[in-house]
Structures are given as C-alpha cells and as structure tokens.
C-alpha cells in the first residue's frame, strides 16, 4: 500500500534499495558514459553505492539529515573525481534541508531535491542545458515543488517521471562542461550518464513508496 511518509528507518531502507538498484544498473551507466565520457561512471557509482551500504548498514540514525548526509559523504569519499563531488553534494546539501526531521513526506522530498540541486549547481558551476545530471535533477526538483500537496507516493511518482523526461531531454543537448571527448556536436543523440543515474534513483524512490 502507498506510503505518504517514511520514518528514518524506512528512509534508510529505501536508500539501501537505491544503492542496490544503481549497482545492478552499472552496465547501463558504463555504456552511457563510454558513449560520451570516459566510461567510468558505472564503476564509480557502483563503488560509491557499495560504500553507502557499508556506511548505512547497521547504524540507526536519529534524523533524516544525518541519514542523507552520511549517504552523501560515503559517496564523495569513496568515489572521488567529479562525480563523487557532484552526487555526494546532492545528498549532503539535500540532507541539510531535512535538518532535525524524522519523517520524510512530499514536502521533505521537494526540499531535498531543491537544496540538493542548488548545491550541485553551486559546486560544479553547470546550468540546466549543459547536458549533466542537472538536466534530470532540476526538472524533478521543480515538479516536486508543484506536487508537494499530493502526498509522498503520488509526488514521488510525478518526480520520477519528470526525472526520466529530463534524462531523455538530455539526448538533444550538447555537452559543454570540459570533459574529454564529449564536447560539442558529437554528444548529440545520447543521454547524459549522470542524468541516467538520477532517473534510476528517483524511480527506485517512487517504487519504494508506491
């Protein structure tokens, strides 16, 4: 039955499922990054998510911000590189928005994504349209703000769809951030690897609360 709020323990359960889903999706992410980037996104995300499972494993967190902060820290410190900073920032800054909270609802999800997305933009300097994970994350955050009245499970579903739409939209964008080989026209037609990760994360959240 659909959940309209999650306890800290449930939220942790959800994040562990996100971790497994990303690890399981490693080949997809690897291919996406091989097409446009240097092909290490799948391995990097998998390494990060294994660290997350390690870190969250048998800890009981007293509040949501601690939970998400720990997830972000685990990713950043295990992954390193650009994506470690980017995805770690998403959860660390996003987590801050939930300071002291011990139940996650639609409002919380919206705050998490909003702060997380702003944090990523501030950290990496990319804007919507630069063909990064922001192009999946930002529309998802905006959608979450629209639907925060409709309860967590409905909201999460809408957010997941917005994220997937954003991932698909990234196909038509031209990469401008300075990564090897992906620059310019020849980055057209394929989705951004990080955007694929975002879509997977959001879909897993939606499935969990459905």
């Amino acid at each position: 039955m659909p959940k309209d709020s999650l306890t800290v323990a449930e939220a942790k359960e959800m994040l562990l499922q996100v971790a497994d889903k990303i690890i399981e999706s490693e080949p997809i992410l690897t291919d996406a990054d091989r097409a446009l980037g240097d092909g290490d996104h799948g391995i990097g995300m998998a390494r990060g998510m294994n660290a997350v499972k390690e870190k969250l494993g048998d800890v009981d967190f007293e509040s949501l911000d601690k939970l998400f902060m720990n997830m972000g820290m685990a990713m950043t410190s295990s992954m390193g590189g650009a994506s470690g900073a980017i995805f770690g920032t998403l959860f660390m800054k996003g987590g801050k928005a939930l300071a002291g909270k011990d139940t996650l609802d639609a409002e919380g999800l919206a705050a998490l994504l909003k702060e997380g997305c702003e944090g990523v933009m501030a950290r990496g300097g990319a804007k919507p349209g630069d063909k990064t994970m922001i192009d999946a994350l930002n529309p998802a955050a905006e959608k979450a703000a629209e639907v925060l009245g409709s309860g967590l499970s409905k909201a999460a579903k809408a957010v997941a769809e917005a994220g997937e739409a954003g991932r698909d939209a990234s196909c038509d964008m031209i990469a401008t951030m300075g990564r090897a080989k992906t620059l310019g026209e020849n980055s057209l037609g394929k989705p951004d690897a990080g955007a694929c990760s975002i879509a997977i994360i959001l879909r897993t959240i939606s499935d969990f609360v459905e």
């Binding site: 240097d38 092909g39 290490d40 391995i43 990097g44 950043t76 410190s77 295990s78 992954m79 390193g80 590189g81 650009a82 994506s83 470690g84 900073a85 980017i86 770690g88 920032t89 950290r123 990496g124 951030m177 300075g178 990564r179 090897a180 080989k181 620059l183």
Partner: protein, 337 residues
Amino acid sequence: MKKLINDPLKVADELLDGLVEAYDGQCEKVGTRSIVKREIPDNKVALLVGGGSGHEPIYHGLVGTNLADGAACGDIFAAPPPDIVMEATQAVNRGNGVLYLYGNYAGDVMNFDMGAEMAEMEDIDIRTVLIWDDCASAPPTEKEKRRGIAGLVPIVKLVGAASQNAKSLDELEAFAKKAVLNTRSVGVSMSPGSIPATGKPTFEIDDDKIGLGMGIHGEPGVGEIPMTTADELTPMMLDLIFKDFAADEEIEDLKDGDEIVLLVNSLGATTQMECLIALRKAKQVLAEKGVKVHQTMIGPFVTCQEMAGISFSITKLDDELKAAWAMPCESVCYTKL
C-alpha cells in the same frame, strides 16, 4: 597492455606505498592516501599539492626538500576526495595556513574546494592557486578553462622554494599566482596510455597523426596534424607559446634578453632520445628569438602511463623567480643542486 602490477584496483594505493619507500624516510604516508614530509618547521606556511594518480612521478613525487610539504592523492586519473584533501591539510598545517596548488580540472577543483571547506571548519586558513599552463586548451581570455599540464613542475619547484621563507599565506599565494602566470606549455600526443583497471586506451589517434595541444588524458586541443619531424614540430609548438605570451594582456611578450626555465617533458613512452632531439631544435628557435635558457629540465615528469607525446613548458623568470629557482631541492620527481 602488459603491466607489472597486482590488483588493478589497488594500483594507486600500492604505488603510494612504493613512493614512500623511494623517499628513504624523508616522507611518510598519512591517512588514506596522502604523503607528507616528516619534517615541516613550526609556523611554516604549508604547501599542499595533489591530483589523480597514474601520472607519476607527479604530483606526489614533488613532495620534498624545498618543494611541496604534502600531496593528496586520488585514484587513477581521479581527483582525491575531500577527506583525503582534509587529512593531508591537517598533516601539513603548522598554524600559518595552507596553500593548495594543483591543476585546473573540474574534479580536482570540486574536491579540493570541499576539502578546504572542511579545513576551514577547523579554522585552518586555506588559499587555492590553480595551475593552468596549457595554452592550447583555451584562449588567454578564458584561463579558467585551461588545463594544468607539465608546467606544474617548474611552478611547484618555485612555489616550494618561496614557501620556505614566506612570511604569510597572502605572500605565498601572490607568489604562486605569479609563477603560474609566467608559465605556459604546449603538448602533443602520438599514442595513448591505458587505464590500468580496464586496459583500455585513454584515446584513439591515427598512426599518421599527432594531436597538437591535446591534453594528457586525450582532451581536445588545437587539432590533429600529420605526423612530422622534430624540427618541424618544435617551432610549431614553441610558436603557440610565444603567441600566447603575446596575446595575453596580463603578461608581456617573450622578447630578446628574457630568461626562462625550459622544460621538455615526455608523457611516458617518448624516449629521452626524442626529447633531446626536440630540445636541440628548441634551443635554436629560442636563440634566434634572443631568449636565454637559465635552466633546462628534460625527462618524463608528467606522464600518462605509456602514452607517447611531448610538451614544452616555458617559465619566464624575473629576479624574484630567479632567486627562488636558485634554491636547491630534492624529491623523487626532481632534484637540483
């Protein structure tokens, strides 16, 4: 590619252990993956460098006497995570602040910045100076887009020397900015290195082409040109550096009477023989321009595994830089009497 390693996922950690051994006690490993000098004087303004592994002997080989105080080391071709930056920062800090000096790559900037934020929470004063010597990576008006390549070696040598007597972090930061501003490089690549974990080449290039201005990971440069001779290519590369000094508002042209440090760097598989043949031509070109080489550095300092390629770096010296250059230094990467 046959590589003499063990677990391909552990190379960054194992090479660092080896590097500590290569220092014969001068340096020690700290935390997860940092290397730090054993003796750093109290109150010294500290100098921290770092970046991804796999480019040995830099960055971690530049820790040493009158060089860097420590290095934060990432995995192969990946920036060190913030907590490694933090552990290294704490280890080199002597209460007068820490200067971060590293190459301008998105991943490095994000992670060192996050490390700096952690350090500042502990009231450690941090300044950052980015190395962006690769003229071929962006026009002088967009230096923030430029990559750091082999020019980092003379830059770290100079800043390391200056850090020994720096009165304040401000002073060292200003000196480092000047060392960076005065250093310009252009590289070429002939064949790729490979990623130890996958064995896959870092990029592709035709047998009859050279990547002019291509970055050390295969980043796009000026473009591909037909394979040519050392005597043809050398003036072409130096000319890009001369043009950059000329085009850049922030620095004067390279002209008759100027003194420089000249670095000829091999990216790995390119032989010392080739570097020497290129140097021979470079000295002719510089002599025609009336530019005097104060010191020549030559060899594989900044590599990308078994990548074949070469780069020239020029650091324009003034009296202050020359004085810093004169200081002897010792490390696995570079030693000078």
